[in-house]
Symmetry: C2
Subunit: 308 residues, 2 copies
């Protein structure tokens, strides 16, 4: 039997309102585990999946397989892996479910390979998993899932990942209504062109959010959590989105919006107490609806993916 | 004879490549002076203009008159002003000529009125001058001209001006070819819609530039000084733009681009020595051209508009 390593990677909130396709933030829960057993086969075998029934065991149709195969082909070794996936994050929830599995897998594999790859290289392998999951090799979930904290994808060509300062009192609330939105579909409903006027508003807020994070100006963070691009379109896919957002804002959230392509709705808060009040009010709204939901309260996960 | 106060406001570089309509940076020279004599007339008189011949003495057609009239109407007083303008900045140069005059005027007037207005209010008055000059009440030059440093206009409605951290080694080079580009014309050639893909690239760089400034990461600042929106269009209005940019980049500039709507071309550099080399190479290029030019080297002006 080969050596085994298990890694954990957490859910992530991407976009953060204004930062469509560029911002991502790691939370502490929910999370996935991936355990890998090293083999000399040169291939990946998906040996087990716990916690979610519908994921493929075909390594070419599973993000773990795709991410690990990308890694093997760059490793110059004949390493192979048997993977046991334990899903704590529901696929299609908008909080980086595929990214967490890919991130945990490449983190465990890198440990088994003697840490031959940098964290940035791990991101590029995990991005291949994202290409399978959503049709585009996005990094806005895999980067924070691997690195932790809040990350900014400044550029894709070349890939340039920037870690943004995280103010210590920042807390996150996530409401996950149990319905699935396909990322590919959520992308299709977006306009391919936007007005220059709206683009200027959006990048004003990107600058404001970045400045607010670095200067620990919570009010500025809140004022910048506005989305002129995706939310006006995607909110239609999430029943009760504006009521949920209102419940968050009326109870002291700095801002609230769609996590990734939804359906999860997140709120950022200053301090745990505020986050508890926001969680309570958002949950109270959901309790009156027909849709089951999960609720999470978490500080920012500063650690990223870890061996465990 | 009424009390007299003289104020100085400097040139400003707006946009900074990626931050179209949101970023502005104050340099130390060139600059304008505006001297005001307080009267009880309730009106503005443009009593003298030095340094440039073609500006109107009609207070409704001169940015100083327009900015001061906006201020008087909000002051609740019968104050009036006789204004003497001393232009050090050539109108139409793309380094905030109108903004500097407006900024100096409202700064002097506020001093005469007993500083009844906040700096942010002064920006709103000076913006009325910008409306006259360019057809739109932009703040990206008047905000840094009044506040100094590097400013971010997060939002116009409501007006939200954020001061961004300025790394101490940042130096600016400006080459001003002696030709005029009307801001209104430079705006008209821009597309009213941009692709979402280009918008994402642009706000990735806005986030990167903001992060680079706060973290004093000069390389990141440099990597973020890219413009996917205005430069591809406006560069056609500036003969030799790409050669000038190349001269800057090949001699160590962090980045270079069009200042405001041009024709001035700016470069940001790390350290005065680097700025001197960049100034020399850009000037050498211009010396081989038929167009006369002015060249400026300056640290960031952290003071803003001042009484002098």
């Amino acid at each position: 039997m080969g050596r085994k390593v298990r890694a954990k990677a957490t859910a992530t909130i991407s976009n953060l309102n204004c930062g469509f396709d560029i911002f991502g933030l790691a939370i502490r829960e929910p999370f996935d585990f991936v355990e890998l057993e090293m083999t000399g086969s040169g291939v990946v075998e998906i040996a087990g999946i716990k916690g979610y029934d519908s994921l493929s065991h075909d390594p070419e149709k599973n993000v773990v397989g795709v991410a690990l195969n990308a890694m093997i082909s760059k490793s110059g070794t004949k390493a192979g892996f048997r993977a046991f996936i334990e899903k704590g994050i529901t696929p299609g929830s908008g909080i980086g479910s595929s990214a967490a599995s890919s991130a945990a897998a490449v983190t465990a594999a890198n440990e088994l390979l003697g840490r031959i790859f940098s964290l940035k290289e791990l991101v590029t392998f995990a991005m291949e998993g994202e290409r399978l999951a959503s049709g585009a090799a996005h990094a806005d979930n895999v980067a924070p899932a691997i690195l932790g904290g809040i990350t900014l994808i400044r550029s894709y060509e070349p890939l340039d990942i920037v870690s943004v300062h995280v103010p210590p009192e920042l807390f996150c609330v996530v409401i996950h209504p149990e319905m699935e939105i396909k990322t590919s579909m959520a992308r299709e409903i977006l306009d391919k062109e936007i007005t220059l006027a709206n683009a200027v508003k959006q990048w004003g807020n990107v600058g404001g959010l970045t400045a607010g994070l670095f200067s620990e100006d919570y009010d500025l963070i809140g004022r910048s959590l506005i989305d002129h691009v995706a939310e006006p379109k995607r909110s239609a896919l999430i029943p009760g989105f504006y009521e949920l957002k209102k419940a968050a804002m009326q109870n002291g959230a700095l801002g609230a919006g769609i996590s990734g392509s939804g359906p999860s709705v997140f709120a950022l808060c200053r301090g745990e107490k505020s986050a508890e009040a926001v969680l309570k009010s958002m949950s109270a709204y959901m309790n009156g609806q027909a849709i089951k939901f999960n609720a999470y309260l978490s500080p920012v996960n500063m650690e990223g993916a870890t061996i465990c």
